[in-house]
């Protein structure tokens, strides 16, 4: 029983981290039909902004308890500057192009942002470990877990739940759904589609930056941080179905739990299990678990 609880706890924590990283990716694809490789850069930028601001905050002797708010501010600051710049400055001129072309453009932007990060922060690692250990720990099945992990789980629930609520219960969300279904008709009905694209790209990127910012106290923030995340995020959204919010949640949960089972019981399989799950899902559901039926346009 203890083993099962430990597997579940580890699986849920990993799933929460994965979901935070991946949910913005699926939102941007759902609305804008962009496979956004730049998402990994926003994760890395969030981590760098978070660790820099938190480090400066703590170094000035300011209350460590507020460092969690500083992590949010870091993610917000970097996203509100960079995301609109990319969307308005580059992507909006490319929407008429093929999806593959836009994918390549976001890949090029990813490489540019990687180098920009190196120019600004250099290649040395950054640490801000204080927020991770500050809240103490709780026990599951006799194993200590830092309470900070609960913040990650809460962040995943709030971002996923909030996004679902916004899409279904608010005016903005309903208009966004109409843009998802048909941008041309939405434009004809008077919706400012460009503004919704800007909002979606910024909000999706913010979710990635928040993921990076809140991960920063647990890792060494170094160049290349976003590479691993973007690969895993793609695996999660592909399993769930590109553009599907519940799909991303289920995909993250499946990957997290299966990986946790492997780590505890068959560690030698851990390396390949995520991609095995992805392959199996795609073998039987080529468009992912929650793929939506595509209306045929004439």
């Amino acid at each position: 029983m203890n083993q099962i609880l430990a597997v579940l706890a580890d699986g849920i924590i990993y799933s929460a981290w994965l979901f935070i990283a991946a949910v913005g990716l699926t939102l941007i694809y759902g609305v804008m039909k962009i496979v956004n490789v730049t998402h990994g850069s926003f994760y890395a930028l969030g981590a760098y902004a978070g660790v820099s601001l938190t480090g400066a905050w703590i170094a000035r002797g300011l209350p460590v308890e507020w460092s969690y708010a500083v992590l949010v501010v870091g993610a917000l600051a970097v996203t509100l500057v960079v995301a609109p710049l990319i969307e308005r400055g580059i992507l909006r001129f490319m929407y008429a192009r093929d999806e593959v072309v836009i994918l390549l453009i976001t890949y090029a932007l990813f490489l540019i942002l990687e180098d920009t990060i190196k120019l600004i922060w250099g290649v040395n690692p950054y640490f801000a470990a204080e927020p991770y250990a500050l809240l103490g720990s709780f026990e599951v099945a006799g194993l200590p877990y830092p309470t900070y992990n609960l913040i990650l789980v809460a962040l995943a629930v709030v971002s996923g739940g909030g996004l679902a609520w916004m899409l279904q219960a608010t005016r903005v969300g309903k208009l966004l759904v109409s843009v998802i279904h048909d941008p041309e008709v939405s434009r004809a009905m008077g919706i400012n589609v460009g503004r919704y694209y800007l909002f979606t790209f910024t909000f999706g990127s913010l979710l990635a930056a928040l993921g990076g910012s809140f991960t920063s106290p647990t890792v060494s923030v170094v160049p290349g941080l976003g590479v691993e995340v973007i690969v895993l995020s793609f695996a999660v959204v592909v399993i769930g179905g590109l553009g599907s919010l519940p799909g991303a949640a289920l995909g993250a949960l499946i990957v997290g739990i299966v990986r946790s089972i492997c780590v505890h019981h068959a560690p030698h399989l851990e390396l390949f299990v995520i991609y095995f799950v992805m392959a199996m899902v795609l073998a039987f559901r080529p468009r992912g678990l929650f793929s939506l039926a595509e209306p045929r346009k004439i």
Binding site: G11, P125, F127, P144, V263, P267, L271
Partner: protein
């Protein structure tokens, strides 16, 4: 008229380039290859690059210590060409060819990644370019092949794993179980394989509780730490390096991992300068040899560690020590070959003959090119445990193991030597 103009232009260009060509002939152009980007840049690449800059400046100014007083290489200035090791092994092979065939370097010193070393060795041999590997650990390079132009002035990973096992046995004589967390590629697998095999020789009934092999640069280790805590092994072994090592310390420390089991981090020295407050007391740290805090109190170490700290405002880590060792070893061989050549500039072949089986002193102590038919270095190794004293991280319970005890004899492969119970022949 046009023809005259062309001739004059050519003459002008030739005249302008002549001094540069003469300078190039006088200097010794060395290609240095290390990580300048990616996750391995901070712990290895940048400290190694700093070492190159410090040592070449010192040697070119004739400020080297003891046996290294001669300016540059035998009086010729060192001209470094530093390139990035990031990218695939295929990229590195291309870059190596560029260094040799376009930059016309006299020799190459470099490579952190074992995969890159394995890929470069046959190319160096094909191009007949003297190449000295400064950091990579795989013992397979000289076990599987004989090379004329390839050398490694740092010891292999076998030394780290056998040294770790000897330390565990000495500090925890009643050890009953072990567990491991290592990166799932050649370095991690070989390190764990050697440690496990060595422990089985030292404690025949040792129980292996779990061997975690997460993906390289995975970054998130909560589940692995839970599995290790659940296993409750007496000793945990890890050869994690760079950001993975730091993430393991950051995530494992607050969960009491290093307190519950004696945790031995074979490359842990690179983290002790960055995370002194996060490494719990009692953690065993290795430095891949007698480097960093374990370096001997000799004139070379004083020159290097004090000079490095003064210039870069930080402590030099083991990767930077290995780079210094690589440069000093080749310098000594170059000068020995030059002397044997009547004071004339030596060929790569002559430098190779001089470096074979050479013994030299460096900031890490004595280096003997004793294995791999005189192409592979052996050294003593050292392990110790962390203890915070007055807010500073220090090493206690330090144990040194002589080279013969932690390296296979020249005639044996590392795995066979361990399986034989560390027999000398």
């Amino acid at each position: 008229m046009n023809q005259v103009k062309n001739v004059l232009a050519c003459a002008f260009v030739a005249a302008a380039l002549a001094p540069a060509a003469a300078l190039a002939q006088q200097s010794v152009k060395i290609g240095f290859v290390t990580f300048l980007s990616g996750p391995a840049a901070a712990p290895f690449g940048v400290p190694a690059k700093n070492a190159v800059e410090f040592v070449t400046d010192e040697l070119n100014a004739g400020k080297g210590p003891g046996a290294y007083k001669t300016k540059g290489f035998g009086g010729a200035a060192i001209e470094p060409v530093i390139i990035d090791e990031a990218g695939s092994s295929t990229t590195q092979v291309t870059e190596f060819r560029n260094l040799v065939q376009r930059h016309n370097v006299d020799l190459v010193i470099g490579y952190v990644s074992s995969g890159n070393c394995l890929a470069i060795a046959p190319v160096a041999e094909e191009l007949k370019k003297l190449t000295n590997f400064f950091d990579c650990g795989t013992p397979r390079i000289f076990e599987d092949n004989d090379y004329k132009y390839v050398f490694r002035t740092s010891p292999t990973a076998t030394m780290d794993s056998v040294g770790a096992a000897l330390y565990v046995k000495e500090m925890k004589p009643n050890v009953k179980s072990i567990a491991g967390i290592n990166q799932n590629y050649a370095w991690g697998q070989d390190s764990w394989g050697d440690f496990e095999a060595a422990m089985k020789q030292l404690v025949p009934n040792i129980e292996v509780k779990t061997s975690q092999m997460p993906k390289l640069f995975a970054g998130q280790y909560n589940a692995e730490i839970s599995a290790l805590l659940s296993a409750g092994a007496d000793v945990i072994h890890s050869s994690f390096f760079d950001g993975d090592l730091e993430a393991l310390i950051l995530q494992g420390g607050p969960r009491g991992l290093m307190k519950r089991s004696m945790t031995i981090l074979t490359t842990g020295e690179t983290a002790m300068h960055k995370l002194p407050a996060q490494i719990p007391d009692g953690t065993v740290l290795g430095a891949r040899g007698p480097f960093g805090p374990y370096a001997p109190d000799n004139q070379y170490n004083k020159w290097y560690s004090q000079g490095y700290q003064k210039r870069f405002k930080e402590m030099p880590n083991y990767a930077s020590y290995q780079m210094v060792q690589a440069i000093l070893g080749v310098k000594l061989a170059w000068e020995k070959a030059q002397a044997a050549n009547g004071g004339k500039r030596p060929t790569n072949e002559q430098v190779g003959v001089a470096l074979e089986n050479m013994t030299f002193e460096g900031p890490g102590g004595t280096v003997r090119m004793a294995n791999g038919k005189g192409h592979q270095a052996v050294m003593e190794t050292v392990y110790g445990q962390t203890q915070r004293k007055g807010g500073k991280l220090t090493m206690v319970n330090v144990r040194r193991y002589p080279a013969e005890k932690v390296n296979p004899p020249a005639s044996m492969k590392a795995a066979d030597w361990i399986k034989s119970g560390f027999k000398s022949n």
